[in-house]
Symmetry: C2
Subunit: 171 residues, 2 copies
Amino acid sequence: MQSDVVASRSAEHRDSRESKNGTPPLDAVSLGIIEQLQEDGRRPYAAIGKAVGLSEAAVRQRVQKLLDQGVMQIVAVTDPLTVGFRRQAMVGINVEGDTEAIADALTDMAEVEYVVMTAGSFDVLAEIVCEDDDHLLDVINKRIRALPGVRSTESFVYLKLKKQTYMWGTR
Amino acid sequence: MQSDVVASRSAEHRDSRESKNGTPPLDAVSLGIIEQLQEDGRRPYAAIGKAVGLSEAAVRQRVQKLLDQGVMQIVAVTDPLTVGFRRQAMVGINVEGDTEAIADALTDMAEVEYVVMTAGSFDVLAEIVCEDDDHLLDVINKRIRALPGVRSTESFVYLKLKKQTYMWGTR
DNA sequence: GCCACTCCTGCGAAATCCGCAAGTCTCGGT
DNA sequence: ACCGAGACTTGCGGATTTCGCAGGAGTGGC
């Protein structure tokens, strides 16, 4: 169930470079499967198979592998404001020293939902999801700014979420 | 199938304020359902019902309503880098005039996956997902900066995505 | 007190999921 | 060039799940 990582780079010679940490690039069929599941995460395997030209069992195995490899995850996503988390913010962080270490530390925080290393006037962007102002303040001032190597931060409190899609590949 | 939007504000008197545009706040049971589906978007309704103390049919109806209302969506999410979109960026935008109009215009762009209005030194944050540098440059310079009312923009090109979860409610 | 509305439950039929065994193909070694 | 290994694919039952529908319980409005 795990040795396939090595082998699945077979019959695909149109894609030269790997995209990240050893995960093989995806072929057109897997892309199609992902596309189907981005439209509806609960779509039956048989319907997906019909769309991408595969049998139901084949789709099932591919989906399972994609999930196991961590290439995709099938989840419910919500607007946090609707679910009771009333304070969110994007925090831009400047780091001196090991940027990746800071990013890892942020990753370990439960309130941090999104961490990305960037080029530009911030080294790291982190999205924070909290229940109220006190909680948000605590995370930013007590926890993030306390990390060794954090030079400065700038916060952007969310006022309104306008769009949130996961449709890349579907266009 | 659509008139329920008007009617569904009834039997809820335990929660005073609405979270956004008329959508009623969620009760503990719906929260529990969402939590289950955030762990696994394909979890069977019967299993969810056992976890939250409801029948299979009741869970099914609630899930359907949550989807119809747009409170949640069940989708496959991926790391865009793995799927062939090699250039992403967060763009901070300053607006003069109608901020919401700009946000709506951004929402209509296919390459824009995430739009949020913020307080702070940017009025709007938008996440862009593109295939390559040319594509990204085109979107930022030709399309976003061309919008009437956009005063200035600042881009943060993604170098590495470190964390991406959808587990709020599950902690 | 009655009506309108929502929500939950129970059940049978249809569809789907899941594991298994065998066939096909490509790649790599000899 | 042959041969074996590994992975992908296919087809097929049985268990599970999904789906639609009808009935009952609880609640607010008139």
